[in-house]
Every structure is written in structure tokens, then in C-alpha cells.
Amino acid sequence: MKSIKELEEIRKKTLDTINIRRDRTGTRIVVGMATCGIAAGARPVLLTVMDEVKKNNLSDVAVAQTGCIGMCRLEPLVEVYRPGEDKVTYVKVTSAKALRIVNEHVMQGKIVDEYTIGAEDK
């Protein structure tokens, strides 16, 4: 049985490491979570992004949500903000696409062109 006691241990462990990662470079990954996004599959996308960020120890990356951006037919939408770079909007994102976005764009700085909104419009 999961216990609050374990949570105490997590607290201690996390407090020890928290100071080390104050060096947030400020990359933000934002997932659209309005009705249109959720119906199109935003929940697994959000959780995949979170898991991948955790798995790779990307403690400088923040994962967040936003409402409807007004492009419902292109949902699920994911936006990546890297400091000093233009925002990149990915469309019709799946969990598989989300993995590439984190691994290639967020971690290596290489935009996954074929999933971007620009590629969709062509």
C-alpha cells in the first residue's frame, strides 16, 4: 500500500536535489488542453511529454497547458518555446510525435519540420 510515509521520503530526497537545478534555461513545452484538444488526444500527449522530460532528467524544461488557440482542426497542438528562439507550433501531435519533439527539438535544438504547422499548410 502506498503510504504518506513514502511521500516524506520523496520530500527529503527532492529537497536535496532541488538546489542543484536552479539553473533553469527556461524551455517551455505547452500542450493545448481545451475540449478540441482533449477530444483529439491531448491527454496522452501531455503525459508522454511529461514522462519523456522526466526520463531524460530535463529539469530545466517546464511542461504546461493552454486553452484553445483557435485552430481546432489541427489539435492536439504542442508549442515549444526555447529561449532566444521563435516559438514553434506542432500540429496533430500523437504520443509518437511528442517523443521526437522532445528528443530532437527540445534536447538537440533540431526542429521536427514535418510536424510543424508550416508543413501542414503546404
Binding site: 488542453m33 501531455l46 497547458q65 481546432c72
Partner: protein, 188 residues
Amino acid sequence: MKELSLHILDLVQNSIAAEATLVELSIEEDFIKDLLTIDIVDNGKGMSKEFLQKVKDPFVTSRTTRRVGLGVPLMLAACKQCDGDLEISSELNVGTRLKAYFKHSHIDRVPLGNMVETMISLILCSTYTDYLYKHYIISKAAETFEFCFDTREVKQVLGDDIALSEPDVLNWIKDYITEGLSNIGGGV
């Protein structure tokens, strides 16, 4: 939507948008009455009487990005399709309550689905909102089983320095809810 848990995720987004600091979610599966009830109570900014009367209409929304609001009408349709209904009450500056009913065994009722993913998503979506999630099962033999998860309790242990969105904390929450729900046999 494919799961009721996705409707829940979506409707609680309305509470978050209404700046609720506490959302109380209760799910009751009553096998005696053959009734599934989803009750969402928030302390957000609420709706005026006039707005509330129109809120089940898809052309009513406070969105600016599109002219229709889909969340409430979709849930209403899901309820109606299963001999159920959706009741909404609200008071400006006090909060809002949504109560959705379904015939539990109705052939068209989509499964409750993954409540663990919904709760984790909600915590990620808004760490300043507290969630109280209660899940009740009333068995055919009239036994009641209950599971309860309260982010305020978790925050109390963690203190101010550690956010609920910390990966290790989220993992603990994931396991805690998974285990709790499977103990009561809920979520079908």
C-alpha cells in the same frame, strides 16, 4: 469522447479557467440503482443566472478564440444518450456545481476510462488548484467502498518548497490512485 474521464478532464478545465482554488470531484457507481454519478463542485467565479440558462447551448461561450463552447454540450449529449441528465447550478463569485448522471449498465455508456491520467493531467494543468477526488462503489450487496485523494494532504507533507508537479511526486500520486481505485474495484 471515448472515455468519461476525458469529459471530466475537460469540465474541470472550465473550473480552472474560472479560477477555482478547490475542485471537488465525486464519482459514485451505484450498482443497486444502476446509476453512475459524476459530481464536480468548484469555488470559481461562477456564472450569472442569465448565462447559466444558456450554457448548455453550444453557441454560448466566453471563449474568444472560437464562437462555440463544446465541453458542456458534449457532456450533456453523453448523459442523455444513457438515460441520464446533466444538472448545473452556479452562483456568481461562489462557484459552480455540475452533476452528471448515467445509467451505469447502458449499452451506449462509454467507459469511465483512465482516471489516473485525468488526475495527473489536472495536476499538471494547474498546480495552484487543489483537487479532492472521491470515488464510491455501492455493490449489489449494498456494501460501500470508498477511495479518496486530496492534493491538500499531499501538499501538507511536501511543504512549500516542493511542487506537486515534481516527477517523483507525480509518480507517487499515480501509484496511489491506481492502487486505491483497484482496491475498491472502481472505474469501469
